[in-house]
């Protein structure tokens, strides 16, 4: 059945648009531009900015090199997701349910809900932390953000606001500009970038897992695949989608590079530990001077709200899809109770936990990413089995090289997670 619908040779598809119809395909590219870029910008959320800042401020340039393997892994993984979405026309949780059955899916969804809840809490922590810079109490900012997100998604026009969020993501450029203005020692940075350093202590391993977890967050894979399915992309559009995904993946890591590097040369060098968002903002001092805190607060707020408006919704969609429950914002509550229930649960708990007295915001944003890192290998194993299933993917299964690399990534991640658990238990 797949034979008549899809041309068999993927390579000819990849090459063709860029030989003859360059301009037309550029227009198509702009039109399809979306899932990959959006996903990667949501990826730099509150948890991401915090984890990168902590990595730089506590370990200097030591983690810079990890961005090379992380970028490659991110590209490989997102590409698989995109391909599965285009070829099967189904979301990731749908595929997992049909291939692995109800029991495994049920427990996976429970874990995913908990991990995503952690991430949602982190987003609201980001809202609280950023607005505290302006002296706004979290007891005002967090409920207001929760109401805003709810209204935006359920009642408002999300698609328009999404564009505003994306434009505001240009904030990340300020890290890059700031990076050059600080006149760092590029020789030293270059060397750190290509020299792998590894330490076998628990905190170091945890940071490594956190970095992987925040860059390659499990929920992103579900979100990316659903967005691609929603767009109704066809096999013929796939090469463009692939460029979109690769471009997005690289953007994430360029931003990560500059955040880590800046925090290393500003905070780490002067021995400042990040205890609040105020400290993390100092990395932008070369660009904004005394206003760095405001700039940082704006960026963190945007990142947090952007992700907070996507995460709870994406979680509700993912779970409802797996269990066959009605899931659409066009439904009324009585038509889709599970969908709205999950959505409400994520937002109410996500915002509610931040309002508990003395909740440490930075730690929440950081540890939620470590949990992501621990869950990632599990999701990857499912993805790899699915993407190699000929009944689902037809001729679009993984190449041998991709499989070797992916399984190697999974192996390293599992080793890393085991080492972390081991170190946490015995040291």
């Amino acid at each position: 059945m797949s034979d008549e619908r899809f041309p068999t040779n993927l390579r000819s598809l990849v090459l063709r648009p860029f030989q003859r119809r360059t301009w037309r395909s550029f227009a198509v590219f702009l039109m399809l531009l979306g899932p990959g870029i959006i996903t990667s910008n949501v990826d730099n959320d509150a948890g991401g900015i915090t984890t990168y800042s902590l990595a730089g401020s506590e370990y200097g340039l030591a983690f810079l090199w990890t961005l090379i393997p992380i970028t490659v892994a991110l590209i490989v993984i997102q590409e698989m997701c995109a391909r599965m979405g285009v070829i099967s026309g189904k979301g990731l949780s749908d595929l997992i349910r049909e291939r692995f059955g109800a029991r495994i899916t049920f427990y996976l969804m429970i874990v995913l809900i908990l991990a995503n809840l952690g991430n949602t809490v982190a987003e609201f922590a980001g809202v609280a932390a950023s607005l505290e810079i302006f002296g706004i109490s979290r007891y005002v900012s967090v409920p207001a953000a929760a109401v805003f997100v709810w209204w935006l998604v359920v009642k408002g026009n999300y698609k328009t606001v999404e564009k505003a969020f994306l434009v505001a993501c240009l904030f990340y450029l300020s890290y890059i500009v700031s990076g050059f203005m600080g006149r760092p020692d590029w020789g030293e940075i270059g060397e750190a970038f290509i020299t792998p350093t590894l330490r076998m202590d628990g905190a170091f391993l945890m940071m490594a897992v956190g970095l992987v977890g925040t860059t390659i967050a499990p929920w992103m894979q579900f979100f990316l695949q659903s967005s691609i399915v929603d767009k109704g992309l066809k096999a013929a559009d796939y090469p463009v989608t692939r460029i979109d995904v690769i471009f997005g993946s690289i953007t994430v890591n360029v931003v990560a590079f500059f955040i880590i590097m800046l925090c290393a040369v500003t905070l780490f060098k002067s021995g400042i530990r990040i205890d609040s968002a105020q400290d993390a903002a100092l990395a932008l001092a070369p660009l904004a001077g005394d206003y760095c805190a405001w700039l940082f607060a704006f960026g963190l707020l945007n990142a947090s709200l952007f992700a907070a408006s996507i995460l709870p919704l994406s979680t509700a969609y993912t779970v409802c899809e797996a269990f066959g429950w009605e899931s659409s914002l066009n439904c009324k509550f009585t038509e889709a109770p599970q969908f709205y229930g999950l959505y409400a649960l994520m937002i109410i708990l996500g915002a509610g936990i931040i309002l508990l007295p003395d909740v440490p915001l930075i730690s929440i944003m950081y540890y939620s990413q470590v949990v992501n890192g621990l869950l990632l290998p599990v999701v990857l194993v499912f993805m790899l089995i699915l993407v190699n299933d000929r009944r689902i993917m037809g001729d679009y299964t993984n190449s041998r090289g991709m499989n070797a690399f992916s399984w190697l990534t999974v192996g390293i991640l599992i080793l890393l997670s085991c080492a972390l658990v081991f170190a946490a238990l015995f040291y």
């Binding site: 619908r5 026309g89 066959g324």
Partner: protein, 420 residues
């Protein structure tokens, strides 16, 4: 069915999958991997079992007659020679786990897409009949192994018992392979659905199943369903079809809907389809395509009845009866002169009540409300609301009638979110 009450037992697929299977001598044969039924029966009988013995080896197909006992464990009688017969499945046979468990189905009673959590069998006369499909939360918890925990929890804390949600097999349309949709019995199931519900269902499915379901519909149902479907999905469905087949379907649609759809298609594809359509219909559609979609010209249909003022009421009735099938509306008969200039309007009710010998010019209402070709939807809505009509004629600058806007089509333009 006269069945001995005591021998009736309900079984779930999830309870018996993976059970050990032994032969009558007590030697292990493997585990139960799947069940085979013929889905065309109203309550399909399990005809064979699939036994997987070793990894990588293809599963054995064992006829149900050879199953001696299925209480607790499955015992199989080997044939006289001790060997078990193997056979290949025929096309109309259904593997239950493979094609149904955890997959999507259409509940034709509730007009919804559901996911199968479990299958329920009735065991009677030593035979297994597939009777229900479990789509409820309780079935899901049973699969997760938590049903007892959940029941106790709900009873203790909320004094509540969650009920099962079962759909009778006769309301179930499996979707997992296109072959299942071609079976005549299941076709009949889908045709019980209203086209508007079918459209909702199609929108809920993934791209491959959408195409499969849509292509299994007969031309008329397909056309009605397409009219109710989201424009983006309309385009995808038509793009996946051969021009001849899509031309047949589009001809059955109302002219204005057909024009909207063809306008959304890529130029080459639309031209290809227009070429395959009946020339007369194609001409009308092309005419409509020249008007912008969001104006009176784009909303109107050209398949409406009109007559000269000299025609009698009796002749008018005959004319309407003859043309009704081809028309998108027959609620009003528009009276025009030889140049198509609009002179008046008569409702179907007035024609029915009138003396058949009276000429239309003596019956018609000359105070006819019409709109111009480039009128905006909001303005047209005003006219509809003010005059309480169900259709409004569209005229050009010289007062010649060009088409008629139906209330239905206007509603889609001014309130697109309703009914989607």
């Amino acid at each position: 069915m006269a069945v001995n009450q005591e021998s009736q037992v309900f079984l779930f697929l999830s309870q018996i999958l993976g059970k050990k299977i032994i032969d009558t001598m007590g030697r292990p044969l493997g585990v139960l991997a799947d069940l085979v039924v013929n889905p065309a029966e109203s309550y399909p009988l399990v005809t064979d079992i699939l036994v997987s013995s070793r990894r990588n080896a293809p599963p054995l197909v064992i006829p149900w007659e050879r199953v001696a006992d299925c209480n607790g464990r499955f015992t199989v009688r080997p044939e006289a020679g001790g060997a078990l017969p193997g056979r290949v499945l025929a096309e109309n046979e259904l593997l239950l786990r493979d094609a149904l468990l955890d997959k999507q189905i259409v509940d034709t009673d509730g007009a919804k897409v559901r996911r199968v959590n479990d299958l329920q069998f009735l065991k009677a006369h030593r035979c297994l009949y597939l009777v229900h499909v479990d789509v409820g939360f309780r079935g899901l918890m049973r699969r997760a192994g938590l049903v007892k925990v959940m029941d106790v929890f709900l009873r203790w804390f909320f004094d509540y018992t969650l009920t099962d949600q079962w759909i009778s097999w006769k309301f179930v349309q499996p979707l997992s392979t296109p072959d299942l949709l071609r079976l005549s019995i299941t076709q009949a199931r889908l045709s019980q659905l209203h086209p508007a519900d079918l459209a909702d269902i199609i929108e809920d499915l993934d791209i491959h199943k959408r195409t499969a379901v849509f292509q299994s519909l007969d031309v008329e149902t397909a056309a009605e369903t397409l009219e109710e479907t989201d424009p983006k999905i309309q385009v995808r469905l038509i793009e996946d079809m051969m021009p001849e087949k899509s031309a047949d379907i589009i001809e059955e649609m109302s002219l204005s809907e057909a024009a909207d759809l063809l306008g959304d298609l890529p130029k080459e594809k639309a031209d290809g389809i227009l070429k395959e359509m009946e020339q007369e219909v194609a001409e009308d559609v092309k005419e409509l395509l020249t008007h912008p979609e969001e104006t009176a010209g784009g909303l109107m249909t050209t398949a409406f009845p009109k007559a000269l003022p000299e025609m009698s009421a009796g002749e008018a009735l005959d004319y309407l009866r003859r043309e009704a099938e081809e028309m998108d509306t027959i609620h009003y008969l528009y009276v025009t002169d030889a140049e198509d200039c609009l002179l008046g309007v008569i409702s179907l009710r007035e024609i029915l009540m009138a003396d058949p010998a009276v000429a239309l010019k003596d019956l018609m209402d000359e105070r006819v409300v019409a709109v111009g070709l480039d009128e905006e939807p909001d303005e047209i809505a005003e006219q509809f609301a003010k005059y309480g009509v169900t259709a409004i004629p569209v005229v050009d600058d010289d007062d010649r009638i060009e088409g008629v806007i139906l209330f239905k089509n206007l509603l889609e333009a001014v309130a697109p979110h309703l009914g989607k």
